[in-house]
């Protein structure tokens, strides 16, 4: 039985649906006095690359923080790769790789030490930890910087290191908030290839970005958020059925939701 099949079986036994890696039902969340996510439901199929977009302040980052189990919702339910965080928080977190929009690094650690530290946090054992770090440094073109302190890396390289960090424990679900921020064009191309390869390997990816051209290259599904609600959600091919570009889809959907 493959790992993916095993997960699907676990999922069914736990009461989830086998084809959804992320299930969000009726989630409402607040930040301070106001609600930033309002009665949001979302199902992301396994292996999908789900592009999440919307105007600034739409609630994209908050939704990703909720999915990363860092921001408990006020209402609603959530299942991540078949795990309800309220039942098994550690199990749910072990299945997630989360890249926030702004994240810090330990500047005095080397790139390899940085990855090994996070592998340790995720319970990866000693020898496998180093192996995983080396593989990821190769994958993201950071092998030459493995023993260089993180403070000496460029912003784009740090972002790549952050992406590598998300993968140290081989998670089933990747939550990436503006992952290409700060990357140069070449690094963006490499990131796109990595995301495509990860999707091919069966990873489910939720990718938040305001750059629709970027999403158009990799996303199989698209969600558009506005004022804490998901105003459009579906396969890219369905949403852009009439040969519309994602820019056109976005403008149409936002226009329609404003009119409501």
């Amino acid at each position: 039985m493959t790992a993916v099949t095993e997960r699907a079986m676990d999922d069914l036994e736990a009461g989830g649906t086998a084809d959804a890696a992320i299930e969000v039902d009726g989630v409402t969340a607040s930040c301070g006095a106001g609600h930033v996510i309002r009665d949001l439901s979302l199902h992301v199929p396994r292996g999908a690359v789900y592009g999440l977009t919307g105007p600034s302040g739409a609630g994209k980052s908050t939704l990703l923080r909720i999915l990363a189990t860092l921001h408990p919702p006020d209402r609603g339910t959530l299942r991540l790769d078949g795990k309800d965080p309220a039942d098994d928080l550690r199990g749910a977190r072990a299945r997630i790789g989360y890249l926030p929009d702004h994240f810090g690094v330990y500047e005095a650690l080397t790139a390899r030490e940085y990855l090994e530290f996070f592998a340790g946090l995720f319970g990866v054992s000693g020898r496998r930890r180093r192996q995983s770090a080396e593989e990821l440094l190769e994958l993201f073109g950071l092998a030459g910087a493995r023993d260089r302190p993180v403070k000496m890396l460029s912003r784009g390289s740090r972002q790549q290191l952050g992406m590598a960090r998300c993968l140290v424990h081989d998670p089933a679900v990747l939550l990436l908030d503006e992952p290409a921020a700060g990357m140069d064009p070449e690094a963006r191309l490499e990131l796109r290839e990595v995301l495509t390869e990860l999707s091919r390997l069966g990873k489910t990816i939720v990718l938040s970005s305001t750059l629709l051209a970027e999403l158009a290259e990799v996303a199989t599904h698209l969600g558009i958020m506005r004022e804490g609600r998901l105003v459009a959600d579906g396969e890219v091919a369905e949403l852009a059925a009439d040969g519309e570009s994602l820019d056109d889809v976005f403008l149409r959907v936002i226009g329609e939701s404003s009119a409501e």
Binding site: D39, R75, G76, T77, L89, R90, R93, P100
Partner: protein, 301 residues
């Protein structure tokens, strides 16, 4: 709770890497060296006899200096443990892992304590000089070191709690230092004031444990969580007792028919308070624990 080894290893690596670690250790040892040198020069210009209580006085000077170094260095090295992670945007990355908040907090506490114990160990050669003068034995030197270790634990736990309550490094450093100074200097001033004005009743813990004996009368209960008074009760005086004289003993401690020395009570209470502080820190640092929300909302809000 999983082992806090990964967080502890990372924190120690960061602390011990670069010039800062070497600088702090050198400065720490240099302050003690200056005290030692000044003391020796002073003593040898006045007293030449080996039968004088020079060793005892030397030890007293070093012990009090060591305590004040601990009071300044421990908060400075631990207060930013959590607030620094928050300020630099790495806290969420730690919390989003399957490692529990408790393990992260313990890892940070152990790294902070280990760092300060290394500094304490760096001071041992200066204390060893005391033995050259006679009148002091290793057994007599042990209690103050236990008080130092407990003080490091207590101040590290306090600083970690302060760190969990704040989000800015500067604020947590200042607050950590202030709390440490209040604990050491503030409590001592309060104790001296209460002793002088004989106002013990309002803050007495009733029949609970803390009745000090001796010709001088009882000592305020607060004195037993005061690191300075604990050191004074552990450091020998040249007349044979301790610097705190008869006040250094607690009869019927904890309501039991035994007599404890004040530094022993301090050590016990310090460990207990530290454990409580670490638990509180864990609760505060993980205040946004993921909990099951109510089911699907019926409609819009």
């Amino acid at each position: 709770m999983s082992l806090p080894a990964a967080v502890m290893e990372k924190d120690l690596t960061l602390r011990l890497r670069g010039w800062r670690w070497a600088g702090v250790t050198t400065l720490y040892a240099a302050i003690l060296a200056v005290i030692a040198l000044a003391f020796l020069l002073h003593q040898y210009s006045l007293v030449a006899s080996q039968s004088s209580p020079t060793g005892v006085h030397f030890f007293q000077a070093l012990a009090l200096t060591e305590l004040f170094l601990i009071v300044f260095v421990t908060p400075a090295t631990v207060s930013g443990a959590i607030s620094g992670e928050r300020q630099h945007g790495t806290w969420d990355l730690l919390v989003a892992s399957p490692t529990s908040v408790g393990s992260i907090v313990w890892g940070k506490l152990l790294a902070g304590i280990a760092f300060n114990l290394i500094l304490l160990a760096a001071s041992l050669p200066f204390f060893a000089l005391v033995l050259l003068f006679g009148r002091m034995t290793l057994v007599e030197m042990a209690p103050p070191f236990l008080v130092f270790a407990v003080t490091i634990l207590l101040l590290a736990s306090t600083s970690l709690l302060v760190s969990a309550l704040t989000t800015r490094l500067t604020v947590s450093y200042m607050a950590g230092m202030l709390v440490a100074l209040l604990l050491v200097v503030g409590l001592s001033i309060l104790t001296v004031y209460l002793e002088a004005t004989n106002q013990l009743a309002p803050i007495s813990l009733g029949s609970l444990p803390f009745l000090s004996g001796g010709a001088q009368g009882p000592l305020t209960p607060l004195a037993q969580i005061d690191p300075l008074i604990a050191v004074l009760s552990a450091v020998p005086s040249d007349s044979g007792g301790t610097l705190l004289g008869g006040l250094g003993k607690i009869h019927h401690a904890f309501g039991l028919p035994w007599t404890l020395r004040l530094w022993q009570a301090y050590s016990l209470i310090g460990v207990i308070i530290s454990a409580v502080l670490v638990l509180a820190t864990t609760r505060l640092a993980g205040a946004r624990f993921y909990v099951r929300p109510p089911g699907r909302a019926g409609g819009d809000i």
